[in-house]
């Protein structure tokens, strides 16, 4: 079945450093990938989405490129800020239709001063 893997549960960085959060997926269908961000006590919000192979998509300083050859959609930022501290989820639109999102286990990013 479809699945999403996020290998890092917790990432701690100093402000100003670059970050990459890993996301790999498994599906037999054409993939549509998403990154959601959830700040403490807030609702998860869409950060990025893509279904186009090898095309970089960007929003709020974050960027990701869908690579179908390696089944990856890693999230990156060149310089993290304190306000980037949050829980980040990678998600895949399920093969059973457009109504289900399958989420990874999430990566908690903490940015230190």
């Amino acid at each position: 079945g479809d699945s999403v893997t996020q290998t890092e549960g917790l990432v701690t960085l100093t402000k100003g450093l670059p970050v990459m959060l890993n996301c790999t997926y498994q599906t037999t269908y054409s993939p549509f990938l998403f990154w959601y961000v959830q700040h403490l006590n807030e609702a998860p919000k869409l950060l990025l989405k893509s279904s186009t192979d090898n095309k970089r998509t960007e929003h709020q300083g974050f960027y990701a490129t869908l690579h179908k050859s390696s089944s990856s959609f890693h999230l990156q930022k060149s310089s993290v800020q304190l306000s980037d501290s949050a829980l980040y989820f990678c998600a895949l639109r399920g093969s059973s239709g457009s109504w289900q999102l399958i989420f990874g286990s999430g990566t908690q990013l903490t940015v230190m001063p």
């Binding site: 807030e42 919000k45 999102l101």
Partner: protein, 110 residues
């Protein structure tokens, strides 16, 4: 813009109790979802509904019932709360590719 309102924000129940969580959306979206969020396990789908009076089971439906009597509302019932259970239940809605979430109901079972 729209909003998804979940009530209550916090719910404390007793073991074996039947508990109902409510969700309202004013996006006029067709599809609504209930996800459970556990620490370290991501979001897991409990139920979803693609239109009024439709119900589809997700991977985590056992122990839950759902009801979609109106397009704007979607309720979830925990049929028998499990002792020491702690989780956040997230309601969501979508039309097209983007899914919008509510802030969640935090359940604690004592």
């Amino acid at each position: 813009g729209g909003i998804i309102t979940q009530t209550p924000k916090f719910l404390i129940g007793q073991e074996g109790q039947k508990l109902t969580l409510k969700c309202q959306q004013n996006f006029n979206h067709d599809t609504m979802y209930w996800y459970r969020q556990d620490s370290g396990k991501g979001l897991r789908l409990i139920y979803y509904s693609i239109t009024e009076n439709d119900l589809q089971k997700g991977d985590l439906s056992e122990g839950y019932d759902a009801s979609r009597e109106k397009k704007s509302s979607f309720s979830l019932t925990v049929t028998s709360a499990q002792k020491n259970e702690m989780a956040v239940f997230l309601c969501a809605s979508s039309m097209g590719t983007e899914v919008f979430f509510g802030k969640g109901t935090r359940l604690t079972v004592v």
